[in-house]
């Protein structure tokens, strides 16, 4: 029921009556905008953020190169969007749940997911927590409170509402942050999630990375509105739009959003305006649908450089440190990649575990039949045949699965 004023002439509104400004703190020079104040952020934390952004960038560049060399089947970069994801993650409690779409590796890096852990997933080897079942980039970590990625778009959004509702009942003062693209926000699940969060007063932060594209589809073909932010009004939800390439602004906005969520059970929508600088994925070539010029313009808004300049101006970072960091990261990527590539695939039994909590008799029969088949044709199934060999020491499935 509504309690609004009356009018006696028909008057249509279309939302042009108001507009949602963009919150920015840092200029591309690394200086603060006039009138802007930096958020409270100590040297260590600022360097942690910077380190995570750079490590993410290096990982992305190297792994895309590895994919081009045929070492990896598939990869997705988040180049250009590091500030949005890392900045948001830095503003959260480390025990807050994160539900990501697939372009949020920066959050994992920030929380301490090791390159080894990344690599094991990317190569789907026996140490992959996901047991080699999902495509590369479908990371997950229980100990880092990072929900395993699932490819269907939008599904994680109402799940985040539910997860956060559980957190609220548990009363542990934690919240959930869910990341999604401006494309995924068109799914029906988005509507369900935001409406339910507002009705049930759920401590959840909906973080939309508006990076301008959903594969080849530009955002003007995704929605007619001024971005995703105005949708919050339809749910009476708090909303803020932020410069997604400005890590300080993202950090501060998310910090305050978290306060609204955890202290007042107010869900919040954050729209981070940014740009997907790389291709959608290793299977994509953006030259078919956008101009180099457009890309160049955004390359000049590089979020990492922006933060670096700010740090250097404060003497919190130096060129030497930069060089050393870049080198060590590159070395680490190569070493961990080599290790992961060499690791054996998950054992045959992993084909039928985790479908249910306990293996069903029917599945056991199917596995047994498969095993005798593979025994007959071991060369045809080199990965499977490995685990038939009684000499292969199988890892304890339950050890160190990112549990704690």
């Amino acid at each position: 029921m509504t309690t609004t004023a009356d009018i006696h002439e028909p008057k249509f509104m279309a939302g042009d009556e108001f507009s949602i400004p963009t919150f920015r703190l840092l200029t591309q020079d690394g200086t603060l905008h006039e009138g802007a104040e930096a958020p409270e952020l100590d040297r260590d934390k600022a360097r942690h953020i910077y380190h995570a952004m750079v490590a993410t960038r290096v990982l992305d560049e190297r792994m895309m190169a590895a994919q081009r060399q045929g070492r990896l089947s598939f990869y997705m970069q988040c180049t250009g969007e590091e500030a949005a994801v890392v900045g948001a993650t830095a503003a959260l409690d480390d025990a807050d749940m994160i539900m990501a779409q697939y372009r949020e590796q920066g959050a994992l890096v920030y929380r301490g997911f090791t390159f080894d852990e990344f690599m094991n997933q990317l190569f789907g080897n026996e140490l992959d927590y996901g047991k080699g079942r999902q495509m590369p980039i479908h990371y997950g970590s229980r100990k880092l409170h990072y929900m395993t990625i699932s490819s269907p778009l939008g599904t994680q959004i109402p799940q985040a509402t539910g997860y956060a509702y559980g957190q609220k009942l548990a009363g542990d003062g934690l919240c959930t942050t869910v990341f999604f693209g401006e494309g995924a926000a068109s799914e029906g699940d988005f509507h369900a999630a935001l409406n339910m969060a507002a009705v049930h007063k759920v401590p959840v932060i909906f973080f939309c990375r508006n990076n301008g594209y959903a594969i080849s589809t530009p955002s003007i073909e995704q929605f007619a509105a001024d971005g995703v932010a105005p949708r919050a009004f339809g749910y009476r939800m708090h909303v803020i739009r932020v410069d997604g390439n400005d890590v300080l602004a993202v950090y501060q906005a998310t910090q305050q959003a978290r306060r609204l969520a955890v202290e007042q059970n107010q869900p919040v929508l954050i729209e981070a305006m940014t740009y997907r600088l790389a291709a959608h994925s290793s299977s994509d070539d953006p030259s078919g649908y956008r101009s180099k010029k457009e890309e160049e313009a955004w390359r000049e808004k590089d979020p990492i450089l922006r933060l670096q300049r700010w740090l250097i101006a404060r003497d919190w970072w130096s060129d030497d440190e930069e060089k050393a960091l870049q080198e060590s990261l590159r070395r680490e990527v190569l070493e961990t990649m080599k290790r992961a590539e060499k690791r054996p695939p998950p054992p045959l039994d992993s084909m039928i575990t985790d479908v249910y909590a306990d293996v069903t008799p029917a599945l056991q029969r199917q596995l047994d039949a498969l095993k005798s088949h593979i025994r007959q044709y071991p060369e045809a199934y080199p990965k499977g045949a490995r685990s038939l060999d009684p000499d292969v020491t199988r890892r304890d499935d339950n050890a160190d699965k990112g549990e704690s």
């Binding site: 996901g130 970590s141 985040a160 559980g166 957190q167 369900a192 339910m196 985790d354 008799p361 699965k401």
Partner: protein, 325 residues
């Protein structure tokens, strides 16, 4: 023992589960103060508060998405879909998410706490959209469990087991029996096994297999058949996924004949799975083809519902055909 109808038995199961474990939550459209359009959740909001039993907005994909998240967090959601006909907007959340949550994460995360309740089936003049039996869609989805009770006693015991099962369960309630089926139901907490069929009547000439409201129909058909001198063994499958092949196969090895019945359309229905699996396992023992008595391959009708339904007369004819093959 008190006599309850199926709704009362279900309500009691929910009450017991919520009393025992504060992580159990019940929600869905009209589930809160009103207690659900069939009143299966009556009084639960009164007893356990609005935070644990509540109305949701009208959005099935949201209800199950929300429930998936809750379950992943460690809560034990019992989500109601008002009619099984309206479960389809949540199909993606169920088939792509619920079913694959544990597997895809290598068991880092799971939604095993989730139970989805939905009234299903025909015989209530519901036409296309208040009569469907969508169990076969879910029974083709590894990672789900699909459970269907045939009477109040089974409903209570199977629902309690479903809520506590470590895997997500879709619990289809034969709504035609909600008030029509009554029986003795112990007041205390008890569970019936998931994944196990039950032989409800022993016999030697032919095996009859069904689930849910069809069990009553089978019983009527069997009465007719026994008058013809045919000895029938009757099995309630109870869990469709993972289903109890062994019990069915053993029975068919004995009787040599099988009739399977469900209300859903025949093509692609779950009777097909049963027939395929059993002909493979019992090939040399089969004395006649496995027969299916099902709904027609059409949407569910209204005025001619009686004609559409796999009723006791049709089953009786199938029994005869099977025995006289």
């Amino acid at each position: 023992m008190p006599t309850l109808n199926m709704l009362q038995a279900i309500n009691q199961a929910l009450d017991i589960a919520m009393a025992e474990d504060e992580k159990v939550l019940c929600f869905g459209e009209d589930v809160g103060g009103f207690g659900g359009v069939f009143r299966a959740t009556s009084h639960l909001q009164e007893r356990y508060g609005k935070a644990r039993c509540f109305n949701t907005p009208l959005v099935e994909q949201g209800i199950i998405g929300f429930a998936n998240g809750l379950a992943a967090q460690g809560s034990v959601p019992v989500a109601e879909i008002q009619f099984a006909d309206y479960i389809f907007p949540a199909f993606d959340q169920i088939v792509n998410e619920t079913a694959k949550f544990r597997y895809r994460s290598g068991d880092l995360f799971n939604v095993g706490g989730l139970t989805i309740r939905a009234p299903y089936g025909g015989g209530i003049s519901g036409g296309l959209y208040h009569s469907q039996s969508p169990e076969a869609y879910f029974a083709h989805t590894p990672g789900l469990k699909v459970v269907i009770p045939r009477n109040p006693y089974e409903a209570k015991g199977l629902l309690l087991a479903s809520i506590r099962d470590p895997d997500p369960v879709i619990f289809f309630e034969p709504k035609r029996l909600y008030r029509a089926s009554t029986g003795e139901v112990p007041e205390e907490d008890y569970q019936l096994p998931i994944g196990e069929a039950e032989i409800t009547r022993e016999g030697t000439d032919v095996t009859l297999l069904g689930w849910g409201a069809q069990m009553e129909v089978i019983d009527k058909a069997v009465e007719l058949a026994e008058k013809d001198g045919i000895s029938c063994e009757v099995i309630d499958l109870r869990t469709l996924l993972p289903w109890d092949e062994d019990t069915v196969a053993e029975s068919v090895l004995k009787t040599g004949r099988l009739v399977v019945t469900h209300e859903a359309p025949q093509t692609g229905g779950f009777a097909g799975e049963v027939a395929a699996a059993i002909q493979e396992r019992c090939f040399l023992y089969l004395e006649s083809p496995i027969m299916r008595v099902t709904g027609l391959d059409t949407p569910f009708p209204l005025t001619l519902e009686k004609e559409y339904m796999p009723d006791h007369l049709k089953i009786h004819e199938a029994i005869r055909a099977s025995v006289n093959y």
